[in-house]
């Protein structure tokens, strides 16, 4: 039933992105979109094809309007352009004291994942929880 839900993963480390995809597909039955291309990402979000986004904070490759963009700014950009409530999970290896509060406040993201993220079922649980919270707004899609 999750197959109709698409999770966007923006992560600049190819292996970590691969782990998210496998975990979400295999343990949650979600569809995944992996991308670091901001215009592609934005088009998918605007078209309402994305149900939830997992964003890495440090993005090595992504650019927007000629400038590098990180997960914080991307989160705000996506929230701004999403046609309906779009839950965002910020995933980062920035794990010093105070990072969580600071990054959540700056990004407007809904929740925060501290790397290493390695338990597929915990990840899926968290994603489902966030999706559930937005389910009412979204209406019955299942």
């Amino acid at each position: 039933m999750n197959a109709s839900r698409t999770i966007l993963v923006v992560e600049d480390n190819a292996l970590v992105a691969k782990f998210y995809r496998l975990a979400l597909e295999r343990a949650g039955g979600f569809a995944c979109m992996l991308s670091e291309d901001v215009s592609e990402i934005l088009a998918a979000v605007k078209a309402g094809r994305i149900d939830l986004a997992i964003l890495d904070v440090s993005l090595g490759q992504s650019e927007w309007e000629g400038h590098p963009i990180d997960g914080i700014d991307l989160a705000r950009l996506l929230k701004q352009h999403a046609p309906r409530r779009l839950p965002i999970l910020l995933a980062t290896a920035h794990a010093m004291a105070g990072d969580r509060e600071r990054l959540l406040a700056a990004s407007g993201a809904d929740d925060y994942l501290e790397k290493p993220v390695f338990d597929a079922s915990l990840l899926v649980e968290k994603v489902q929880h966030l999706l559930g919270a937005s389910g009412k707004v979204q209406g019955p899609t299942e």
Binding site: N13, L15, F19, G60, E63, P68, M96
Partner: protein, 429 residues
Amino acid sequence: METFIQEMKRYLGFHEADEQLLRQLSPRMDKYLPELAERFYSQIPHHPNAFRVFTGGEAQIARLKQTLQHWARGLFNGAYDEAYAEERYQIGYRHVRIGLEQKYVISAMGVVRAYLSECLLLEFPASDERLRYTRSLSRALDLDLNLMCESYMHATLENLRRLNEQLERANQELAHASRVKDEFVAHISHELRTPLNSILGFIKLILDGLGKDRGEEHELLRDAFSSGQHLLSIVNDLLDIARIEAGQMALHIEEVDPRHVLDSTLPLAAVQAASKNLKLRDATLGTALPLVEADEVRFREVLLNLLSNAVKFTAQGLVTVRAGVDNVSGFLRLEVEDTGVGIPAEQRVIVFEKFVQATTDVKGRRYEGTGLGLAISRKLVEMMGGQISLGTGADGRGTLVWFTLPLAGSDSSRKASASKGTSRIRAGQ
């Protein structure tokens, strides 16, 4: 505005009349001055502080006796002006500089005062007259002592101010170093967590039975393994720099064939280069290279590090390795040149500092990595007696890094071994 000496005279009640009295006294006191100098220098050199002044033996004392008489003559000739104040000031400053305490001057002045009082007693048996002279003389000596003490205070304050500035500066440097270290710890934490994510993630997927088939499981294990290797290289960098910092990096210096090092290192770099579609050009092929004095493992580490950097910071083009002998200096010089992002001139020194990465790609972004590679390479090259530096590539783009190693049996290698005091460095032998 009142000058300091004017203020001091007013405070001590030292007037024109006193100066006149002292001038009258002058001709009668002249004959006592040699004895004053004798008395003074029979007592004052025994003062516990005196060793700071008396460093020049008998000749110095003979000179000082003349100076003392000159000063005493001046005392009776009454030129208590700015130049006089300035001279007393300079002496006070000098005393503070050499660490002579104020109590020395006070007790020296006590010796002068006691002897001159004796002289007045001889000259003026009638007490009325003597009292007038004694008072004026006493004021003059007070004035002199006050000037000296004032200069002590000023010089001490100035020293304190200077020390304070130094402390302030040291404090700022410490704060900066601590900030750099904090950022480093945060960055390292980030760098360690990323490969850990893949290692733990892929293994857990397999353990949870989420792999599609044996083939995929195998692929995931390979990914986990390569992440593990990446993690190991970060940990090795950290250990290296910690060891170097603690002075515990043991080098095994011996005669090394650079050809051997190149041949075993370049294939590793070629794999990295190929994965980014970069060309790796070995411009040393066919050149005979002389033996160098080096630690072979560390030599290889430095070369590989420079090559990896070149590949990492180059998006397209090629990486070139060159080697050549500088016969004059007795060093082998190795160069790694790339056509990559380059390092801005103002960052060419700081990239060799530990924890520092030339943070910018073109867009001002930090690259992956610990930022320790060049710091480690510099330390290793220097420990082996060579030098390392970087500049711009030949066509004004990219980066050219070069380092030198002493040729085997050359003066430079002997000097390097001698000057580096390699007993500890060679502890591995």
